[in-house]
Symmetry: C2
Subunit: 163 residues, 2 copies
DNA sequence: CCTAACTCGGATATCAGATATCCGAGTTCT
DNA sequence: AGAACTCGGATATCTGATATCCGAGTTAGG
């Protein structure tokens, strides 16, 4: 069970957008270049972030993407759900209601023990991700990154066409 | 991101094996019939449980599967890992080290913030699953199942060929 | 001891979802 | 008003999961 790489891309894009100066935005192609990922495919993930209301896009000649709300109001869980969809890891197919021990469906408890345990674990996972927001990650990235890498990033930002 | 149905099958098989009378075992075909799932494919999952040391198999004319150790020594996490493999949900591809801000690899912190948060959430998920063992699930299944379903299960067990 | 039947285990087709890409609709600046 | 550039949804390719089969090995019985 592996999550899509696009979650990683989307998270890093959100962090970069959070670090932009006020009013500045970046195009999908620029975000792709900065992260070294295929541009047309990254666009698909940006569309998903758009539909989830995490980023806002502006069309036309000076268009681009920016965060749609404050960075500390976007959790890592929001980003994950935007890319992967909100379906649970575990989907109970009610196999207890199949086979020779089957009785009428109404007689069973609402959730079987296996599904309940899986659901509880998933809630723990979601709660942990919900505690992390993009502002935290952005601050951590700047603090932890090699100073030279930050400087190169700033230089790159000065180079690219302003949108 | 969805886990394989085989995890559900494997968990229910482990529960059923835990409920068997001492010394009794069931063949792959019998386990498949009881759960209403495709036999030859379930066998693949049983092989995975075998390699993980969760169940033990006996070959030959009176062969079958039984739990390899006490039911309370098998966690739901053990079953999950046996089926899905132990690879993490999130695999960091180090995109921070790509693109125009790249510097020498040695200058970076060991784990980036995004990967760290993902890893922590995954640990919470695993810890929750590790707290649930097959003996608990077996007890809960008997307690929660409709009495008639339990009776039908016992009758079925008396019907099938003893291995 | 030999036979025969039945079991598990790994190798093999089929299919869905993810991956990667392209072109059209719409918008903004000149 | 025109032109160029942007986003957005529809389209090929491909890896991994799904479902199945047959052979090797083992056990009970004659």
């Amino acid at each position: 069970m592996r999550m899509s790489e696009r979650v990683e891309w989307a998270a890093h894009c959100a962090v970069l957008l959070a670090l932009l100066p006020d009013g500045r935005s970046l195009t999908a192609a620029q975000l792709a270049e900065y992260h070294g990922v295929p541009g047309p495919y990254l666009a698909k993930s940006l569309q998903a972030l758009m539909q989830a209301g995490i980023v806002a896009s502006r069309s036309g000649r000076s268009g681009g993407y920016r965060l749609a709300r404050a960075a500390d109001a976007v959790s890592l869980l929001d980003v994950f759900d935007a890319i992967e969809g909100e379906g649970a890891f575990f989907r109970c197919t009610e196999i207890r209601r199949r086979g020779p021990s089957r009785v009428a469906a109404a007689r069973y408890t609402p959730v079987c023990g296996v599904a309940g345990a899986m659901w509880e674990a998933e809630q723990a996972w979601r709660a942990s991700l919900a505690r992390v927001n993009i502002a935290d990650l952005a601050a951590g990235t700047v603090a932890d990154a090699p100073p030279e890498a930050v400087a190169k990033g700033v230089r790159w930002l000065a180079t690219v066409r302003v949108t």
